[in-house]
Symmetry: C2
Subunit: 161 residues, 2 copies
């Protein structure tokens, strides 16, 4: 279904909610921002001219050529988070929210994005000990190793208790 | 292209960067979270079972039936921001980032979302006076008038100087 994504394949079968630590870092994988996907996303969700053709982008103050919608990049940064937890023994329940999402550099059509993440915060619900929250800083770098976007997201997880 | 969105039609021809005020509120319009769009987004960007069928969602702790990806809702909340500024005399340059994005309630297939926004902060660049930044709180309510999501986003604009 998601043909442009390649998740990292490292398995962490012993990693549980209880053994995860703030500062732990993980490679998520990569995603090709294929030109046709950039256009398809923009058509449906962000139809500004500079997301739809190189010609229109050439007149833009920031973009030199057709650039992906920042919301496309955000969705792509999230794609490999779920599959990461499937490679662990931590069971995800739902996305909780986003504390920060920054678009640092334009993402251009056919860029390859490399995603990794670092654990920023871990907490257990006081009233529901079986429920916990993990805050992650997810980063995307392009093929030139430039940081293009980062976000701080929180998800709800089973603590295993 | 975006067949499910209906922007508000009110025009603000006299509204400029200089006359916009913190606390100003605007109706953005509405967007139907059509079932086929919910599935199409999830297939490509967030293929968790509860975003793809009612049957899989029935087993989920939070969702009662097929729910839209939170990233789909976020993209939809952004769709009508650009068209709003086109109804004013304020010229947008680029999205700047997201300070907060909260998913309050599930968004279900075929929900109608009503978007509005309030101006939270306005500032001019000190080094480049022709450039300014507007921070907006965008909200989405469903057809039952429940707040389903809100976000605080900042965009770069021409100040007209």
């Amino acid at each position: 279904m998601i043909t442009n994504s390649t998740p990292d394949m490292t398995k962490y079968p012993d990693l549980t909610f209880g053994s995860l630590r703030v500062g732990d870092k993980f490679v998520l994988g990569k995603h090709l921002m294929a030109r046709e996907e950039v256009i398809a996303f923009a058509r449906r969700f962000d139809p500004q001219p500079f997301h739809l053709s190189d010609e229109a982008a050439a007149e833009h103050a920031v973009f030199k050529r057709m650039a992906a919608s920042g919301w496309h990049t955000a969705a792509v940064m999230n794609i490999l988070v779920g599959p990461f937890y499937e490679r662990t023994s931590i069971k995800g329940l739902a996305g909780g929210g986003v504390e920060k999402l920054v678009w640092v550099q334009p993402v251009y059509a056919d860029d390859m994005l490399y995603m990794d993440m670092e654990i920023s915060e871990i907490r257990r619900s006081k009233s529901k000990p079986h429920l916990g929250f993990i805050t992650m800083r997810v980063q995307a770098h392009n093929q030139d190793d430039e940081l293009v976007s980062h976000m701080l997201i929180t998800g709800a997880f089973e603590t295993g208790i």
